[in-house]
């Protein structure tokens, strides 16, 4: 039997942040996850709160917003909590691949549907997207790469667009990870840069799908910008997400280097509960079930997609600890009549309710398990999809959960 100071369940951005924070405080940490998490599907930029208008300074905007949303996870962390957690995140990404906020408030970045989308921190490979103007931008899609439809993007952004055949390979049906690995090869990206240059008509910006390499995206960016003489930016597209995968790999590399134990690919099959505390968890690793013990636990298993919440036909449950879940009413009321209802669907408010310390509580407000904390999107009373707050909630609550867990 192995014993840890802290076990983090979940390898998404919340779990990774919690594990890294705890490692930084000298704890012996185990992080377990079933898969790579929503981070590798949707992680592109760091959103804090999309509804803050671009002209409003972020600290001020969020501080006001929190006052009006006292049940939101941000009310647990406050702006200070968000700020210090995001600062710690940025430390993990030094140049040449830094994350920065292009403005004092939200910036608008183009998407794979040709819409503009508000966000806070962008990786260096997306930064120029915030500065582009339609008349000066060329959108480049690749023939056979179906998860980025260049003509849809250029049509809606009112830019010029081209669809290029990819050099060297008969590449129809290529996936984003395969394309990103090809971009890691110098000769490939040089040839691609050259064929883009031949299509240019004086544009100062070039938008490409977000596939500019997994290993060294800054080098890919530099090659393309040198050859084309324009500023190049990545555009987020259908999952999986290459920029999100970069974030995942960076965290994992850091955690392993600092001595965390990483267990991936196996679900948590049960918890050992005694006297209102969790003593350990079982991890399914057929034909064995391994038992891991720790003093503290952080539950960062995400929502329905990640398996943190599960919807039966009549109620929503939390499968690992069977923690009480805030319910969105009867099944007929979980979702609005229209997909694009003006209000977020009621089910998105469901989740785990906690005390100020991020410990899950029941309907009467009593702490359920004294040494278990919850972090990330599993928390109740946020609407991460509509709010554009996914990464902010993950980073801020993951950070806070680890701090509070180790302080206890």
């Amino acid at each position: 039997m192995k014993r840890f100071d802290l076990i983090v369940i979940g390898t998404g951005l919340a779990g990774l942040t919690a594990a890294r924070t705890a490692i930084g405080m000298g704890a012996k940490v185990l992080i377990v996850g079933r898969g790579m998490g929503a981070l590798t599907l949707f992680g592109n930029t760091v959103d804090l709160l999309g509804e803050i208008p671009p002209e409003t300074e972020m600290a001020e905007g969020i501080t006001h917003w929190i006052a009006a949303h006292p049940e939101h996870p941000y009310a647990r962390t406050g702006w200070e909590g968000i700020e210090s957690a995001v600062a710690a995140f940025r430390e993990l990404f030094p140049p040449p691949y830094p994350f920065a906020a292009p403005g004092r408030g939200n910036s608008l970045l183009p998407t794979g549907a040709g819409t503009m989308r508000p966000t806070w921190l962008t990786p260096i490979t997306m930064a120029a997207g915030a500065a582009m103007t339609p008349a000066e931008t060329l959108i480049v899609g690749f023939r056979g790469f179906k998860d980025f439809q260049g003509d849809t993007v250029s049509l809606h952004l009112k830019c010029r667009g081209v669809i290029l055949p990819l050099p060297r390979y008969g590449l129809e049906g290529l996936t984003a990870p395969a394309l990103a690995r090809l971009m890691d090869e110098t000769s490939f990206r040089e040839r691609l840069g050259e064929s883009i240059r031949q299509q240019m008509a004086g544009e100062r910006f070039i938008g490409l799908p977000a596939i500019l390499g997994l290993r060294d995206p800054a080098a890919v960016l530099k090659t393309l910008e040198t050859i084309t003489g324009a500023r190049v930016f990545e555009i987020p597209m259908l999952p999986p997400s290459i920029p999100g995968t970069r974030i995942f790999h960076r965290f994992r590399e850091e955690l392993i280097a600092k001595g965390a134990t990483f267990r991936m690919g196996h679900p948590v099959s049960g918890a050992i509960i005694k006297d209102g505390r969790c003593e350990g968890i079982n991890i399914d690793n057929p034909p064995l079930v391994a038992e891991y013990r720790a003093d503290r636990f952080i539950l960062a298993t995400g929502r329905f997609m990640g398996g943190g919440l599960w919807a039966e036909m009549d109620r929503i449950i939390e499968p690992v600890f069977d923690i009480p879940v805030f319910q969105p009413g009867e099944r007929g009321n979980w979702f609005g009549e229209r997909f694009f209802d003006p209000e977020a669907h009621p089910i998105h408010r469901a989740g785990v309710v906690t005390d100020a310390d991020l410990r899950p509580v029941d309907a009467a407000g009593r702490v359920v398990l004294a040494n278990v904390r919850a972090a990330g999107s599993i928390l109740a009373h946020h609407q991460a999809i509509e709010e554009k707050s996914r990464e902010g909630i993950d980073i801020a609550t993951g950070f806070l959960a680890a701090k509070r867990a180790l302080a206890s």
Binding site: P110, G112, A113, M116, R117, Q149, K388
Partner: protein
Amino acid sequence: MDLQTEVVIIGGGATGTGIARDLALRGIPSLLVEKGDFTSGASGRNQGLLHSGGRYAVNDPDAARECITENRILRRIAPHCIEPTDGLFVSLPEDGPEYRADFIRACGAAGIDTLPLSPREALSMEPRLNPRIIGAVQVPDGAIDPFTLVVENARDAESRGARMLIHTEVTDLIRDGLRIAGVRVRDRITAEAFAIAATWVINATGAWANHILRMAGLQIGLALSKGSMLITNTRLSERVLNRCHPPSSGDIIVPNDTVSILGTTSLRAEDPEHYEVTPEEVTFLVDELSRMIPDLKGERFTRAYAGVRPLLQLEETGDDRSISRGFALIDHGSCSGPAGLVTITGGKLMTYRLMAEKTVDFICERMGLHVPCSTHVQRLPGAGQGHTLKDRLLRLRRQTPSAKGEILCDCELVPREAVDAILREGKVRELQDILHRTRLAKGTCQGGFCVYRLLGLLNERHKADHRGGSNLILKAFLEERWKGIRPVLWGTSLKEEELIESIYKGLFNLTPAEPGRPGGGEA
């Protein structure tokens, strides 16, 4: 642009296209108008069951005989639309052995072959069946693809000279004294209005029959019955599974290619255009069908849908299931209405060909023509083609011998070339038309990924309607998709839905139509 023809057919369902084909085979010119696309009504919203007639054998022997006759004809003329799965009528303890004995007897009388099976035999054939069954009877049920059936009827009719106008709505009937002399129509996409002069107008609009008749101040007794169905993500059984008891709600499971369709309910509907599948119906279907397949609750459901049956209501009764599923051919001229107007309604998909035959027999008789029907022997054009998953994969390999085979829809393996071929034919006018003619958006993700790709292709071909851009079409598609998905959102399908919402509302920041949301939406 005014048109002229011998017979105008209103309605592009199985009956209407069946009539067009029958007329064409007998050399009579016709023009079919359909306000949506083919199969927009009940023909595209049924359980896809090729009835053996067993379901009606005990209560309605005439309907049973009609079914088994048409069953044999359809297997001959449209083998590519049919999977000859066979079906089991399964007796649970509560269904009792008496009904089973009556059932076998009644099937015999109607000419339906039966093979009684012991519980052990039935369970070895269909392992997911409830182990408590007391017996089963095998009958020649099957699965039928109504989309292909209807589109092929239309295609064959067209190749023999019939004309088809889809997205064309009848706005009025043209009167000429005591006769109906044609229809006024409006193109629903271009809003162009024009007239079609004809000797005969056939109202083959199913549940919409009274909408057309009202234009002539007429009405027939028609009850509308909503039937709701659920689609599972996997195929639950090899054969059609029926409960061996008097026909009721929630007692049939029909395999359909790689999935199964569970049905149905029967609830009175007021309007054939506006209805939805309620959470109560979904719970009912899952609970009721769990009696036949006990582990059904753990299944992933991909979609719910409903269709509206037009039931002839010649006299008032309590239960819609006891109203005859038979059809009626009404010559309004001979019952104090205007001449030249015929309504064919009631009936069911199984009898579409027979309904067409009777209608055209009537027209021929009035025209003094003596040309016999041949739709029971003339095979549909694609009859040589298989349509199982294996056949589709083989065709795919033939169509795309090189590396050019970009797959737009990963769930159902629809290649880009299949869409290009449809675009080249030039008959599709909106997104849903393309979706009707391919298996795009019919798989697990219900178009969550492939419709984005399809619209990219249309933008590349400049086929998308650029007023407001293709994202408006995308949003309209997601709303349409939502109607089917929302009723089944729990378990695994809810996980998928979070993924789809994360893409379109999160990543792509598509917002409700209202403009002015800060920072959001369309550039």
